[in-house]
């Protein structure tokens, strides 16, 4: 299987552990990831706030490059990129004004976007293309006894994703169960982490993050699994400030791909586990114990 791959700015910066774990996991499953040549920033939420037509032109360049490369699917791991690229596709289809602006812009660079490339999240590709059966076969170190809070964040499942429910998604739950982990009931799985505010209005952003962490701890989770680089940074990097305000809620946050890598028995170094502020270790003591089935 061959996929085109759009990393997005975060996966080259703060979220590089995501890329560093995603690529070996995909390779291990026999999927080839070809990074899109000369991709540019998707524009994220910030550009939309300034000018939505230009934001769409900016995002459409990536879609056009992917089409030029003949890509059927463009794997987009960052939730913000995933949303913006999908939204742009919808806008081009629905709005004549935006379609015209995009055609003008792309035309000036000799590019065109016909909407033939699907923007896909790796979670969707892993579970719905590659399949849980194939993944299960690769599991050599089941995550026995590990209690995981599945955190999807806001932007990936809404409003354009078609692969899961916007309020109660379950794709990652099923994946984690396949890896042998225990998924805790986590009603905040799609609540906003406040990442876009933590940098600008820390008091507000931190509180949103705190609620997510506290609830994960309260539900007895050992770790939070995320699918978005902004969520991971937000849930991982601000423990000091949060604990100063509201007391300890220490829990590590990792990418779901890192947990996959562990279950596949890939070397820890390859999985960039050292890049987190709050270190994650498999609860080895627990793993050794005979785990009683939980109800």
């Amino acid at each position: 299987m061959k996929y085109s791959y759009f990393p997005g700015c975060s996966l080259k910066g703060l979220g590089r552990a995501y890329e560093e774990s995603l690529l070996p996991v995909m390779r291990h499953l026999g999927a080839e990831m070809n990074e899109l040549d000369d991709w540019n920033c998707c524009g994220a939420t910030a550009y939309m706030s300034v000018d939505e037509q230009l934001a769409c032109v900016l995002a459409a360049r990536n879609l056009a490059l992917a089409e030029k490369a003949g890509a059927r699917d463009l794997i987009t791991p960052c939730s913000a990129c995933y949303l913006v690229l999908n939204k742009t596709k919808h806008y081009i289809e629905d709005s004549p004004a935006i379609r015209a602006a995009v055609e003008r812009g792309l035309g000036a660079a000799g590019l065109k976007c016909e909407g033939t490339t699907s923007v896909r999240h790796p979670l969707d590709v892993l579970v719905n293309d590659i399949g849980l059966d194939v993944i299960k076969e690769k599991v050599v170190r089941p995550l026995k006894g590990l209690k995981v809070a599945p955190y999807y964040g806001c932007q990936v499942v809404r409003p354009y994703a078609t692969f899961d429910d916007a309020w109660n998604p379950t794709t990652m739950d099923r994946l984690l169960t396949t890896l042998g982990a225990e998924v805790v009931h986590y009603p905040l799985k799609t609540k906003c982490c406040g990442a876009s505010l933590t940098g600008t209005l820390p008091e507000i952003g931190l509180r949103l993050t705190y609620i997510l962490l506290k609830e994960a701890v309260r539900r007895g989770a050992d770790v939070i699994a995320t699918i978005c680089p902004l969520c991971q940074f937000n849930l991982d990097a601000y423990h000091h400030q949060i604990e100063q305000r509201w007391g300890p809620v220490r829990i590590p946050t990792v990418y779901f791909t890192q947990l996959m890598g562990i279950a596949f028995g890939l070397p820890a170094k390859q999985l960039a586990l050292g890049r987190s502020f709050i270190p994650f270790r498999m609860p080895s003591a627990k793993a050794g114990e005979a785990v009683a089935p939980r109800t």
């Binding site: 000369d38 550009y47 906003c192 209005l201 890049r275």
Partner: protein
């Protein structure tokens, strides 16, 4: 106790403002809003807003432009799209918020020292010149423009990033920057002309 007299006069309404917002793709559904408040109930930030998302919808529809554009509500929207997927009338509230942010920036009525619009502008500038965003550099620029104190209070994150090898000081950039500039210029120029 300060007593203020509040009454809204018809002259304060900017006729056509609601229609202008509803002309943005996906925003035309605002007409069917029944003011149920699901947006505010869902919104994680509504508790900080001067106007709840529901009130923003009501004011936009009633052409109260100033009240909406000057409120902090539109800048507190974190674009989580919760309201959009929850709205029983399928109103794209998040997109309306974007449309309002754009108008506020265009009209220069956003709160001056409020960091969110500054971030948006810095972000946009960086994308236009480099094609990509380097988060650490962006945040540093933001802090310098908006709030120097924040740099100091965030020293832990900075050190942490350096320790975990994520503090990037070199700009990420695309190769064909000229292509991007041509595209954006072409799209923007014709837009003005039309």
């Amino acid at each position: 106790m300060r007593i203020t007299r509040t009454v809204k006069y018809e002259a304060e309404r900017v006729r056509g403002f609601g229609r202008e917002i509803m002309a943005v793709p996906g925003c035309e559904t605002l007409l069917s809003c029944i003011q149920c408040g699901t947006c505010s109930g869902t919104c994680p930030l509504s508790v900080y807003m001067e106007l709840s998302p529901r009130q923003v919808m009501a004011l936009v529809r009633a052409d109260f432009k100033d009240e909406v554009l000057r409120s902090n509500s539109i800048w507190l929207c974190a674009s989580c799209y919760g309201c959009t997927v929850e709205c029983p009338r399928e109103i794209r509230i998040t997109d309306i918020m974007y449309a309002l942010k754009q108008r506020a920036i265009r009209d220069g009525v956003y709160p001056k020292r409020f960091p969110i619009p500054i971030l948006a502008k810095e972000f946009t500038a960086m994308v236009r010149s480099k094609g990509r965003v380097t988060e650490t550099l962006l945040v540093m620029r933001l802090f310098m423009k908006a709030n120097l104190m924040a740099v100091l209070s965030s020293w832990r994150q900075g050190i942490g990033l350096i320790r975990t090898g994520r503090f990037v000081l070199k700009h990420e950039r695309i190769q064909r920057r000229g292509e991007l500039e041509t595209m954006l210029a072409a799209a923007a120029r014709d837009k003005e002309g039309s």
